[in-house]
Symmetry: D5
């Protein structure tokens, strides 16, 4: 058994039972973004969270333990993603990558936006010309320092 | 001469003169995100915008014309970026890619967030534990339809 | 169980029963292009469509549910396809890619042809020198806008 | 001097003079699709065609001769294209590749659609919900035969 | 079940029974080159041919049906082959590729040698200094045409 | 100066003077296949051959000396060739690679067809349905031996 | 002019003058590790530091300004390094990567060792059996948090 | 059965029993770095060590024998690691690689730091601004010699 | 069943029984280098050799037949090997590759050292400063010839 | 100026003057293998050696200094070499890599053959059936040790 097996069981159960990530998140008591990532094998749950998730998806004790182990992260099968939805995010990095770099350095100096001390919020933005996906990302700025 | 030459001239002039992208954007009258991307060879300016940018960076007429030609987009030298700041965004796609996919599909059904009908806003978020980079992205949802 | 398993079952059943995609499409009441893509794991069916497809291919309830889940798209095993028929399309992108780009920009300005708000029609074109494959593609033009 | 140099000169002259591919094509007396591909270094002109193109773009005799040499084809700098417009075509091959394959084989049997005995026509399709790009492709079907 | 399973069964049966491809070809009544490629999952058999092959290798009805389905072609596990015998052919393409191109264009003009309307014959050439492998390839020349 | 420079000079001179490889080969007194490969930087000439080639293409003494140095072979810019003519040969290796392997081993046992002790002859084969490219390859069989 | 040009000038001057990184670092007043990385185009200097470095290496004002611009980081030409000394570090990541992961997670929980809030010290460790390279790395632990 | 199977069994047992690498190491009587690497399939144990590890993880005799066989090393599934923690080490090699090279050569001359005659020690470094990961690496310097 | 299955069975049996390749080779009556390569799926045995190997490793008749089939060669899972021992050989090719080329051409002219008509001998070389691995390789020189 | 420039100058001078590596090596007083590698930019010369090489190839003082700087090693332009002579060595690693590994571990235990404390000798081996290339490699065995 591996974490991948647990992820696949969660996903298959979600399809079979017709569950929603937002409902799962509400029961866990955390954001839908973090909980979905955790269920998809990218984040680590504590014992209590794993218990709730385990109950929802009918996981065994051993499977719940796997949810508490830090996973080998990286959710995509290829380095350039083939799925159109995910590719669009890759394209944003490709087209706007140097823009991100220039503007963050202009505002903060040398350093990075943390992808660890990071949170995000994904919502629907109503728009008469067609609703929009709105994503708010917030990551701590970490400066390079001399030593 | 090519668009790349123009981009390099703009960047070299910016370093030499100590200019700021936000000041350039203000003169052009558009967001700093769009104007920086355009100056870095990712977006297309109209004649008036090219004139303003041309004056700031001392571009010839021919160089200004290049700014009005749609560029071959993609700002990064390798498919997996090596620069730490840009890599963090790639890592977000790698770790959260399937989460983006699940949550957008849960909210909107099958389709994508457009990377074309798209805008973003990058700001500093003051935080006593260390300021944060805040990025608001907004892209139109485009549904797949049957035919 | 995963969507891939369902796709493989559909394909194996099609071989065993000697079915035709155009007949399947007629029963579903949509174009053969969209229905084939859906059966091959690239599009998402609604409950009624999944029911029809399920009956044709003898799918269980759970398998029909998988057809209603948005799949991880991308139907090819390698980034440069090895199959001669599919490679010819890749070659067209390789040889004519910059031509597509120049002519669409000349006609429409900066932007893309959507691969989402897209439909196509593949037909046989009779020709005394040997019949031809005719493909009509129609995709909405999406302009980049300033912001 | 190489064909690439000639291509770059043509493109730079086009930007400087503000020429249109459709006008160039009209003067050459062929479709805009073929003429653009030829000017971008993908097709071979005969002496007369090269003369017309040479006059338009101010090419020397030697440069016109290069236009009559069969080029090393392939217009893209990376195997997975980074430009969003061109990528959408690659995505169509990725998502619909197996569908192309199934439907062509269903109609014609084993073989391919030729990318050599091939022509295409790219036009604007007016649409109240936003104009569309329409591409008609026509390629001879070439069957595999036993021997 | 998939075509790959059928190929593997054919190969395993050939080893177990000590069969020869040339004998199989003789029974099918076609060249050994085409029949071997078909048995290795690269060509499509008709019902009668599949029946003969099926009898030789003890294939079920379903397996024989798979032989009549156009396969996803490409017989090698990596884009640069590791097997020394097959690599030598890749090396010929690498070393002589531009020579093939120059000489075919010199003789025929712009176009290609078809790999579809193609046949070949592989024979032993007796030689006192060591026997040689002789391969005769014949492919139709397909010209690019203007349109 | 490098061998690549000499190759480029030869090719550019050939275009400018409108020379033919078959004429060059006749003057050198060897097959057009070998001489073309040598002029394209894949084979090594002796002093006399280099002198003839040098006279035809107007090479300096130093350039003629480069023709006598064993080159770093490999004539293609990418491991999977993008040029349609050359790709067809790559496709033959991809589709028929395992067939080559099976039939050569069936006839000769374990070993390879040499790509060094190798010659080939490329001719036009008249055919009422369209002329064909005929390629005869002959390579010594080299057996693996135990030790 | 670009940062790469400045890096190359620094390196060429260092060779020509026979300078030592440790002496440069002493004049700048920072560690040899950070100063070397900065001179090699991986870190950003402030005006004063750039002035000292500029004096040592004979840099112009414009070149000194480039040293104050955040560079596009990544010092290696290939994703798997070919240089034996640098490869050994890559090998350590390859062989010990999962060990690093397990032990850091066992001690700290889910998170990473920062490569930004990071410093290191490289020294010679005398050893009768052959001196050793000793590297002390220290990076802040950054925990993933729920949100 | 293969070494990979044994590694997977060890990891699964560790999760199920909630064991700690540092406790395992203490029982084996060696450093936690070496023992973890060995349990993860990167180092070779002797019979006694394999016996202790076997008892802890409930391994059969055959499984214990596999621990004594030199493994095919390399613990990561991709050449550029996707896991954020491991990637940071890769990033250090990418950003600091040429710095490592310069400083080791400045101190020792041409040669490498051995990754074989190598040891390391990973500890927690208390810090009021957030604890740090401290890694001490020590590798023998191996000089290139003339011959 | 495939050759890979036979290789894995041989390796697993070797571990379980604690056999040595040199003993296997002695029983087969050939060099340890050739026999090990054959047992690892890289060389082809005749019936008698396969019988001896089959007896040692407890192979069935079918498995022994697989040993007599020419295998698809190439023993490594990645094109740049990750295992440190095997990587060192790859590094020798990387660092000394052009040296091999220059010296062999200087001695023999244009051609190659055969990797088919090849043998090698790997022995321990006693040395007071630490024993050395000594490898003697001998490959026939194959000249390119004109034609 | 860079080391690459110096290497190219050495190679071009060697061609122009018709020098031999073995003569260069004799003047330097070291093996032809080491001296060739050094001249090709893979090894580091001391001042005296650089002086001799500089005199032979007409190098300036600055160029001689570059010969004394440790180079970024790796002599090949692609990770899988395209040159047939060099490829054969790569093929040996591919086919015999696991054999090297098994036999060295059987003789020495876990560890590697050093590619640093390494020397080799390349000679002609007379043989009535065709002369052979003989290569003797000798590398120190470096054992992994527990810690």
């Amino acid at each position: 058994m591996s974490r991948l097996d647990v992820t696949e069981k969660i996903v298959a159960t979600k399809v079979a039972k017709g569950l929603k990530w937002s409902d799962v998140a509400q029961k866990v008591g955390l954001s839908k973004e973090w909980v979905t990532a955790a269920c998809l094998g990218q984040m680590t749950l504590d014992a209590k969270q794993a218990g709730i998730v385990g109950e929802i998806f009918g996981l065994t004790d051993a499977e719940q333990k796997w949810l508490q182990v830090v996973p080998y992260k990286g959710s995509l099968p290829t380095s350039v993603p083939t799925d159109p939805l995910i590719y669009r995010f890759y394209e944003l990095v490709s087209v706007y990558g140097t823009t991100f770099k220039e503007l963050i350095h202009e505002e903060f100096g040398d350093g990075i936006m943390s992808a660890i001390d990071f949170k995000m919020d994904l919502t629907r933005e109503a728009d008469p010309k067609g609703d929009r996906v709105s994503i708010n990302m917030s990551g701590k700025f970490l400066p390079y320092k001399t030593y």
